[in-house]
Symmetry: C2
Subunit: 350 residues, 2 copies
DNA sequence: TTGTATGCGTTATCAT
DNA sequence: ATGATAACGCATACAA
């Protein structure tokens, strides 16, 4: 049903129908009522092609995300953004990516200001540098630029949407997996590898979930936990890591990040019977999983974060649809046996 | 860049540019060459809105899928189809669902003929009744109606695409999970529940993969396997099932289908320490997983099958894009700890 | 072989 | 307060 037909039904002109639909201009109350009734009755839906054609708007979205070395975690969300760009550019979505150094608040501030200069129609933000990110969202709100958050959330940020993981629950899941792998009893080391002194909320929550799993578990007294924080800026960090892995009687190791491959590399040489659970399907982790050095990885479909974020803007800006405020992505368990079907080349976005 | 601008650049009319783009009508060889060069150079992409508007085609897709009782497996792929219909109807996709009785080839034939009467622009087919399905695809090919296959594949069918699972590999994955759950040794029963005498390829492949996992495993001599085929048309089937579950020394049970909840129901009452692995996140299985009677479920995102199938038609018919021929969906492992993020109400389609 | 005119449904502007 | 009309980019029928 077109606006023209609606107009005929209501005995008014096309212009009046349009005014009613968009609530603009003056319309006599009873004509307005009549038109609204018909609109309702025939369940009018605007033709998306005609609308797209006449508006012919292109929206510019800025993505403010961490820079990465090839093979690092943040490559994956960026791939998602790029794939989304490809898919949605024909619908008028344009994307400009701004990269900052995760370990440098200054670079974040610098890139953030460039984003603001661009005056984009929307911003995709990875708030890994929490404090600065919050300040940035405040500015965006001032400028009335909508934004989505990916990877980790900011409470009450006023974001269009959040797309990411439940870090705490993923820690519980990791604990369950490692418990099974070490057959219900033994000594587990939690090894955190850190690149900076910033408080990393995600890491913290994963570890919290991991520990809490055992607190509520029937195997609590059969399990012992140890924690190691290893700072990669310390030049001896590799030796420290080796020492941690060699610790007598270790049955399992949990690494609460994608850096699990560093531990895998050590275990590979040590030839100890230690079970290893970590995060994210980056290339190195995939390799060690295939070889059986890593036993399972927990993944949160990071490629989807960027894709969905962009799609949310498309839905909000172009289709003018409502957006789901919070999207917690599934916590995928990836083992040797199902690895192939989480292949990133499949680009399983739909 | 619009066709009009291209025309100006090439010093020809809009009509000529159109003729070149669509390879229709007569165009002088050198003008054609000139236009093609410009098209290439500016990387011309038709405006999708304008095209959609002028073509204003609506495509009718018929989905020929099994009927279901509420809560049964086939409800989920149908939900995916419905969701896809909602999302894509504004782009001109219309869907009509034809349901057949899985246990009745006659009903399949009956519904299939109704599909043909409709003369749809495309067909989504769940070839669960293999023999009849193959005959049907032959007819579709004769009529040049494109079709996609969901859930299970037909080799060399000439389908637009296949979207489904790797059943064999999922069996291997199930075996790995159950091995971990019973801590590497013990007696495992494979219990198949069947509703008809048809050879079910998917079930068979899952069992095959399950067994093969142990053949190549280091725990082969610590594991014993037993197989039970229980026919639900036999009126004593429930007693037979109870007997199978009560079998002395059983440590784990593998059910190669969504019917695992029948086994869970028995185990719940028997209060035996038996680990249970099955398939699909239908409501009853979800409940038993939550309660801990089922230990893990393997899921293949069945809601996506229908959604992607429909999206493939949209991409092929409307956007005229190339389609990926085979889409194996990830084999998700769902346990208590990540169950909530595979919630079907989230409708995680993107 | 080539050019021109018309219409798709919506939005927005101008005139009444 | 309402109606008429141009424009978006493309496909197509028709005229030249």
């Amino acid at each position: 049903m077109t606006t023209k037909e609606i107009a005929k039904l209501a005995n008014v002109s096309l212009g009046t129908v349009d005014r009613v639909i968009h609530n603009r201009g003056k319309v006599a109350p009873n004509t307005k009522k009549r038109v609204l009734e018909i609109l309702e009755r025939v369940n009018y839906r605007p033709n998306i092609y005609a609308r797209g054609l006449v508006l012919n708007k292109s929206f510019t979205i800025a993505a403010l995300v961490p820079a990465f070395e090839p093979g690092e975690y943040w490559e994956i969300p960026q791939q998602g953004i790029r794939k989304g760009t490809e898919d949605l550019q024909q619908f008028g979505m344009q994307v400009k990516i701004f990269e900052f150094d995760q370990n440098s608040p200054e670079s974040f501030i610098d890139q953030a200001s460039k984003v603001l200069e661009l005056r984009p129609d929307g911003v995709i933000l990875a708030p890994v540098i929490n404090f600065e990110a919050v300040k940035f969202t405040l500015k965006l709100k001032d400028l009335k630029i909508p934004f989505t958050l990916i990877d980790s959330n900011i409470a009450n940020s006023g974001a269009l949407s959040f797309i990411g993981q439940d870090a705490y629950q993923s820690g519980k899941l990791a604990a369950k997996l490692l418990k099974l792998e070490i057959m219900g009893s033994g000594a587990i080391s939690i090894i955190s590898l850190k690149n900076n002194e910033n408080h990393n909320k995600t890491l913290q929550k994963r570890i919290e979930g991991f520990k809490d799993y055992f607190l509520g578990s029937d195997v609590l007294n059969k399990i012992s936990l140890r924690e190691f924080d290893i700072h990669q800026r310390n030049k001896d960090w590799k030796e420290i890591l080796v020492e941690a892995c060699k610790l007598q009687g270790t049955d399992g190791i949990f690494v609460p990040s994608s850096k699990v491959h560093y531990v895998a590399e050590v275990l590979k040489d040590l030839k100890l019977d230690i079970r290893l659970v970590g995060y994210d399907l980056i290339e190195k982790n995939r390799m060690y999983l295939k070889k059986g050095i890593i036993n399972s990885l927990i993944c949160q479909q990071p490629e989807k974060q960027g894709y969905i974020a962009l799609d949310d803007f498309y839905k909000a800006l172009v289709l003018k649809q409502m957006i789901q405020k919070e999207r917690y992505l599934p916590l995928d368990i990836v083992a040797q046996e199902n690895l192939d079907y989480y292949d990133d080349t499949l680009m399983n976005y739909n």
